[in-house]
């Protein structure tokens, strides 16, 4: 082998529309934030290289559309993800309540091996808003994460770049744990006998 390739991780970001999935991604990858809301259509794709435990990995981030009418990308779309990020808005109770269904939907469509151990990360976004607007307490969110098999939980602000880097670092780290070496075994040797005769019209 010439050189060990960087590992590539497929990370899918899910959540209700308007919770700030694209903003999180933009903040993380481009260090940019825009107050203007625009719905993601279908999906956006971003690539970022990160260092995890001295190992360079490429994160292939699949930002999806939250609005239901864009959920037409198909079953195959989630296939082979290494980590799934569930995002909600701490100021929007409904966006928290639907996390469960997003998670279930993902597990059904991606059907990963060992769904109970599949790495999720939950992000409560928009903590820069004033405290009075907050609908979901940290305690409540953490309790839910606990109940779903100790999902790591982060509270972030894409706008003020709070905790974004840390959240994605954990995402990469947990995703990397999915990357286990598969067993490579040499297949059985071919048995050559005349009854498996093949004739291709004679290449020679």
């Amino acid at each position: 082998m010439a050189s060990r390739k960087k590992v590539l991780l497929k990370v899918i970001i899910l959540g209700e529309s308007g919770v700030g999935k694209t903003s999180l991604m933009n903040q993380y990858v481009n260090k940019k934030f825009s107050n203007q809301y625009k719905a993601t259509i279908g999906a956006d794709f971003l690539t970022k290289e990160v260092l995890v435990d001295d190992r360079l990995v490429t994160m292939q981030i699949w930002d999806t559309a939250g609005q239901e009418r864009f959920q037409s990308l198909g079953v195959a779309f989630y296939r082979g993800a290494d980590c799934c990020v569930l995002v909600y808005d701490v100021n929007n109770a409904k966006s928290f309540e639907t996390l469960e269904s997003w998670r279930d939907e993902f597990l059904i469509q991606a059907s990963p091996r060992g769904p109970e151990n599949f790495p999720f990360v939950v992000i409560g976004n928009k903590i820069d808003m004033e405290e009075s607007k907050r609908m979901i307490s940290q305690k409540r969110a953490m309790a839910w994460c606990q109940s779903k098999g100790n999902i790591p939980y982060f509270e972030t602000s894409a706008k003020e770049a709070i905790n974004v880097e840390q959240a994605f670092q954990t995402i990469a780290k947990n995703a990397l744990q999915q990357e286990v070496e598969v067993e490579i075994d040499f297949p059985d040797p071919i048995k050559i006998d005349s009854d498996t005769s093949k004739d291709f019209g004679c290449a020679c």
Binding site: A39, L46, T58, Q60, G74, G80
Partner: protein, 725 residues
């Protein structure tokens, strides 16, 4: 990858079906020329077998039965060609082939109901002749290569002008998507499409709102631009039909707007592309640079020359043909240019597009967008995609993707690869094929220079038959139990191949072997032992190849199913080398291999004036030969142009919807004749000012020359080990 069997089978069937009416018409219409009876072109060109020489008297009799009226009718063409009566050949073509072909096409027309022209073939024939020196007519279109397909457009109209690089090519920016409906009822198909339409329409509304923002972001990349390019350039008025010829089903094309919307839906974004000017993309689209072939044969620490390119560099976007291989999860496996992980966003887009159609049990085959073709080959768990503006056809590009797929299989085996992805569909396959990218790269390069992929045939080294036979005997005597195949070859040509009687070798497997040799120079210095899966032979398991150069450019390849037989193979080699040396054969092999570097014989050896180059494929032997390229084709660009011309002709003649037996093409640079019978395919290239009758005359002469030399040009007596027991 074409199966040579099936293709020749189907043409056989076709020919027999057409034969009676054709021969009838032919005997009626054949002009009275001294030799035309015995060489009755239609008859011979379409009959499934070569006429044995003893049948000549009979055909001569036919000649005598000609009526005088026909003599009158055709007298004006007689001066076109006068051949000596002794020039009797079993399979031959006359310039009147082109006169005669309307009847045969008339049969086709009625079958295919494609052309609703007059059903008076004779009138057609006469009209067709009015344009006979068609290079004069076509020559005036200096920018345009005209194709006159024998008979198809007898009235001289160009129905099928495919310009390699002509300005008309981007006449439409409307991408049309050919979908492969999988045995679905028309109604449900329509239903699915309507659902898609409405969904996409709602998307479009949103998108209108969204457009301003998006433009300010400036993150348009090539996937998107390729489809929106032409409207920007205002070419849309030129009307659009960029459907592929191989997809005759109009129902399977989506409205262009839908696709544009679809492509808008899936936007790759890139961290560092924010300030990319839009005009840049238009510039690259008109860039005519040829694919840079940048393979360094440095195996250790192999690094692609283009590794630093990515979607933001002009170099990357200016390549004419890209190959992408990804897993069905959308993870990058290989990109022909650039670092595949840096363009992994595109892989996401590709996966999402495929996934969208897969949801409707449909599979995406091709998107035509202006000059670009996006060709998909779905071999779950792998997806292979080609994005090309090289002018090659959809099916040729898909064949090439198939070869890339076989290359991956040859490293992993199909069973191992499927098992890995069954275990983990998020698997990053790059780790496993690491180190073999060099062979994918070299395959990409080879497919741009080597006509064997297009022909689905193997090129043979030109050596005297006697020498080939003697070498074969030596190889045959060296047979030991674990030896399955013994092959002598140069990096591009086959010298001889010994096989078990029951197992012939498929050309596409042999192409992988040639690619192995030309992709790496490591084999030249030592004896090598490598596992290799030959997918057509058995895609579940590895064979083991002993590779050793026994002389300069002469490689011996011994294939065994037993992974522990290296030393036995090495002994076989020693024995063979000893015998070859003793018989003085090794030295002559080496000199022939050296001569074969450029082709083995010069086009001048044929003694045919005006002939520039040709390809001759024996369909029964799945082999082909060609002369070395003359001084006219020394530059890489002219070589590639010639190959593209051959590809164009090959594609046109093999098109499923309307295959042709004869094809006459007058181009800016050369005049070409394609001629396909059940036994052979001949593609001959002449200078641009050679007349049609001369081309026909010369092609007949060429065929005769090939027939005389066939023993040396090709391997006709396919030795098997059993012969030597």
């Amino acid at each position: 990858m074409k199966s040579p069997d099936s293709s020749s089978d189907s043409s056989n069937v076709k020919n027999t079906a057409l034969a009676p009416s054709q021969t009838g018409l032919a005997s009626l219409l054949s002009p009275v020329l001294p030799t035309s009876a015995s060489t009755s072109p239609i008859q011979s060109a379409t009959s499934p077998r070569l006429m044995p020489s003893k049948s000549r008297p009979t055909t001569a009799l036919v000649f005598d039965q000609r009526s005088d009226t026909q003599q009158v009718r055709h007298q004006r063409y007689n001066q076109q060609q006068h051949r000596h009566p002794s020039q009797q050949d079993t399979e031959s073509l006359s310039s009147d082939e082109f006169v005669l072909s309307p009847p045969s096409i008339a049969v086709k027309e009625s079958n295919l109901k494609e052309i609703n022209s007059s059903n008076q073939p004779v009138t057609h024939a006469l009209k067709g002749l009015a344009i006979t020196p068609s290079h004069m007519v076509h020559g005036e279109h200096s920018q345009q290569d005209g194709d006159s397909e024998s008979g198809d457009d007898a009235d001289g109209r160009l129905t099928d002008t495919d310009n390699e690089q002509g300005p008309e090519y981007d006449r439409t920016g409307i991408p049309i998507l050919a979908r492969q409906s999988q045995a679905r009822v028309a109604g449900s198909d329509r239903g699915a499409t309507t659902a898609t339409t409405t969904a996409l329409q709602s998307l479009r509304e949103i998108d209108e709102h969204d457009r301003e923002d998006r433009q300010s972001l400036g993150i348009e990349t090539r996937f998107r631009t390729a489809t929106t390019l032409t409207p920007d350039q205002d070419h849309s008025s030129e009307g659009g039909d960029s459907t592929t010829g191989s997809d005759p089903n109009p129902e399977s094309t989506l409205d262009a707007n839908q696709i544009q919307d679809k492509l808008k839906v899936l936007r790759p974004k890139h961290s560092n592309s924010n300030n990319r000017p839009k005009s840049h993309l238009q510039r690259t689209a008109s860039n005519k640079s040829y694919d840079s072939d940048d393979i360094s044969n440095n195996h250790g620490g192999y690094k692609k020359h283009s590794a630093n390119e990515d979607h933001t560099t002009t170099a990357w976007t200016s390549h004419r043909k890209h190959f992408f291989i990804l897993s069905s999860a959308g993870k990058p496996i290989y990109a022909r240019y650039g670092d595949e992980s840096r363009i992994s966003s595109y892989m996401g887009v590709i996966q999402a597009l495929i996934s969208f159609f897969a949801d409707n049990d449909d599979s995406l085959r091709c998107i035509n967008a202006g000059q670009h073709k996006f060709v998909f080959l779905l071999k779950s768990p792998l997806y292979l995609v080609c994005v090309s503006r090289s002018g090659e056809s959809e099916s040729q590009l898909r064949d090439q993707l198939g070869y890339l797929y076989s290359q991956i299989i040859s490293v992993l085996t199909h069973s191992q690869m499927t098992r890995i992805f069954e275990q983990r569909n998020n698997f990053d396959l790059r780790g496993l094929i690491g180190g073999t990218e060099i062979f994918l790269d070299s395959l990409g390069k080879l497919m741009n220079t080597y006509s064997g992929f297009m022909l689905g045939a193997i090129q043979c080294l030109t050596i005297p038959r006697e020498l080939r036979d003697r070498v074969g005997v030596v190889l045959g005597r060296a047979k030991c139990k674990p030896l399955l195949y013994a092959i002598l070859l140069t990096p591009t040509q086959l010298i001889t191949l010994l096989r078990p009687r029951t197992h012939s070798m498929h050309p596409s497997d042999l192409h992988l072997i040639f690619n192995l040799l030309s992709g790496s120079t490591t084999f030249e210095s030592s004896e090598s032992w490598t596992p290799i899966c030959l997918p057509k032979f058995n895609n579940k398991s590895f064979l083991h190849a002993y590779i050793c150069y026994i002389a300069k450019r002469v490689c011996m390849l011994l294939i065994s199913p037993d992974k522990d037989s290296f030393f036995e193979m090495s002994n076989v080699k020693q024995k063979v080398v000893r015998e070859l040396e003793a018989g003085g054969m090794l030295a002559s092999l080496e000199s022939f291999a050296a001569a074969g570097t450029r082709g083995g014989f010069a086009v001048g050896d044929t003694g045919i004036p005006g002939l520039r180059h040709f390809l001759y494929k024996s369909r029964t032997n799945v082999q082909y030969t060609m002369p070395e390229l003359s001084d006219l084709y020394t530059s890489l660009s002219s070589k590639k142009r010639l190959l593209r011309q051959y590809q164009h002709m090959n594609e046109r003649m093999h098109r499923k919807s309307r295959p042709l037996k004869l094809f006459f093409h007058v181009g800016e640079h050369e005049t070409m004749l394609g001629w396909i019978t059940p036994n052979f395919e001949l593609y001959a290239v002449f200078g641009p000012l050679v007349s049609k009758s001369a081309v026909v005359l010369m092609s007949n002469k060429l065929l005769k020359w090939i027939r005389r030399q066939e023993d040396n040009l090709l391997i006709l007596n396919s030795p098997s080990f059993e012969k030597f027991r």
